[in-house]
């Protein structure tokens, strides 16, 4: 993959920060956008804009066609069975809230949900809320000392009582890649639980085939994969989606409405109340096209080789503690800390070098608490990052430590 050519497609990467060229290493929080996506969204507003599924005039028909076509693009992208399985949400967090509300409606007191110790709050809090409402038990799969899931612990947690397993596909802290296929086989052999994968970090970086993985749901965030904010996807198996109750009412999700009651539209619209973020969805469609042009195989290969380089580079920085999966293959995500240096000081000082990293608990507070760390600073690499970006990071960290110790 030719990263220097790719960089040219992202106008923001040309800018300077504090007099230094921008080194953007926070794609785990949000990715930058290529011209293709920016222009496509601007073109919709200039040429087609009209509300979808309503007007009987050309503009609305054009916008509706472009919007609905994104379901096909996304269906192919993750190899879903049908475009009816692609539900648009405003992001991954909304996706989990929708699933946690809908899938727990018929659960019984004492039924169990399995999450892991390293879940993003988006895949934790909605389940805590649902568990409180329906008196469910949440079990957490342990993370081992290699910063990977403890699979034998997972095995021991599974039983007929397990109704939902919801696990991160690629960790936004340790870069851990979950053994999704192994998990789905284990789940099927020991329970009838639904298997949900948090694809927020996984889908932007790796080829995902939902049918091969044997999962039931996938939550995706658009803005982490070159798309705009305010758009995400929940993919679910058609037969399960059809049996599920909607969570949000109004607008597009109805079939017939009476004063006393209403009936629902077929999937996917049953789950999409109100005017959808159709311009954002169209933007996401172009983001997928951009990734397809690179091929997800190449994107994945780039992530792997950049991770290997970054890992060896960062491991050579004196005093740097790295929270990162020890597996041969993992995501290009590094949470870091330095004894005696606060991560917020580090990220503020790195910013003076033009290096953008995130500091804090990265929405994974319980796991930070387990490691007895208030916070870490985190660098993530994406398609527009190269070895030089991590060279700059490593030398900037060394420079800043000198000032902060």
């Amino acid at each position: 993959m030719n990263v220097s050519e790719i960089k040219k497609d992202f106008p923001i990467l040309k800018r300077e920060v504090n007099g230094k060229p921008l080194t953007y290493l926070d794609s785990g929080a949000t990715s930058q956008k290529p011209n293709l996506v920016i222009d496509a969204m601007s073109d919709i507003y200039k040429e087609n804009n009209a509300n979808v599924h309503r007007g009987t005039y050309v503009l609305s028909a054009e916008t509706t066609q472009k919007y609905e076509n994104v379901r096909n693009i996304f269906k192919d992208f993750i190899n879903a069975n049908s475009s009816d399985e692609i539900i648009f949400t405003k992001g991954c967090t909304e996706g989990f809230n929708f699933l946690a509300n809908s899938l727990t409606k018929n659960l019984e007191s004492g039924d169990e949900i399995i999450l892991s110790e390293i879940e993003h709050h988006a895949n934790l809090i909605p389940w805590q809320m649902a568990a409180k409402k329906h008196n469910l038990k949440i079990n957490f799969v342990k993370i081992n000392k290699n910063f990977n899931l403890d699979m034998s612990h997972f095995d021991s947690l599974l039983s007929k009582k397990t109704k939902i397993v919801s696990i991160v596909g690629e960790s936004n802290i340790s870069g851990m890649l979950t053994e999704i296929k192994n998990m789905s086989e284990l789940i099927k052999s020991k329970s009838n639980a639904y298997f949900i994968v948090d694809g927020a970090q996984l889908v932007p970086h790796r080829k995902v085939d939902v049918q091969k993985l044997g999962i039931d749901f996938l939550c995706v965030s658009g803005h982490k994969m070159l798309g705009p904010t305010g758009i995400g996807v929940v993919w679910g198996k058609k037969e399960i989606l059809e049996s599920m109750e909607p969570v949000y009412g109004g607008g597009d999700m109805i079939e017939e409405v009476f004063y006393e009651s209403a009936t629902w539209a077929p999937i996917p619209h049953k789950f999409e109340a109100g005017t959808p973020p159709y311009v954002e969805a169209i933007g996401l469609g172009f983001a997928v096209e951009y990734l397809n042009n690179l091929t997800m195989e190449a994107v994945e290969e780039h992530s792997n080789s950049l991770r290997d380089y970054a890992k060896s580079k960062l491991e050579n920085v004196e005093g740097l503690n790295i929270i990162h999966s020890t597996s041969d293959i993992a995501g290009c995500t590094f949470a870091m800390s330095i004894d005696g240096v606060h991560s917020s000081d580090m990220s503020i000082m790195l910013d003076t070098h033009g290096v953008a990293v995130r500091s804090g608990h990265h929405c994974v507070q319980p796991f930070h608490r387990k490691l007895e760390l208030d916070s870490t600073f985190r660098a993530t690499g994406y398609i527009y990052n190269d070895e030089r970006d991590f060279d700059i990071l490593a030398s900037a960290i060394e420079d800043c430590v000198g000032l902060l110790k």
């Binding site: 910013d351 003076t352 208030d374």
Partner: protein
């Protein structure tokens, strides 16, 4: 020295440092001078919410004037809270409440003074003003 005079002094000092890195280094130096915060006061009551790091601000009243002790586990935040404590220490509750100085505007401190409502500096200032307003009629 009035609140505004103290702000003007800091403003003058900070303007001597042309780039953000030097300004932060100045804050770090201020933080290092501020080293007498009692460990037993690091309790929730004195914690400033809305900061990325842990920040504590403890008010004291002496002869109708307020004095503030402060600390943080991060150096830059500690430098900032040290500046803010110094500016408002030795002033009456009324003067603090009536001070309309906008630190975000006065100090060009880049990312650490962004005017977001949940920003650390905003919360530090609010904690000081809330305490002062509790003492005015």
């Amino acid at each position: 020295m009035s609140i505004q005079e103290k702000i003007d002094n800091y403003k003058k000092t900070l303007s001597l440092f042309p780039n953000p890195q030097e300004k932060y280094q100045y804050l770090i130096e201020q933080a290092k001078f501020n080293d007498d915060f009692p460990e037993n006061l690091k309790i929730d009551e004195f914690k400033v919410n809305g900061c990325q790091s842990q920040v504590w601000l403890v008010p004291e009243e002496q002869n109708n004037k307020l004095y503030f002790k402060s600390d943080s586990d991060a150096l830059i935040a500690k430098g900032l809270v040290t500046l803010i404590s110094t500016i408002y220490s030795g002033e009456t509750a009324n003067d603090i409440v009536n001070s309309e100085a906008d630190l975000m505007e006065e100090f060009e401190l880049g990312v650490i003074l962004s005017p977001a409502r949940r920003n650390g500096a905003f919360s530090m200032l609010k904690k000081i003003k809330d305490f002062a307003s509790g003492l005015t009629d």
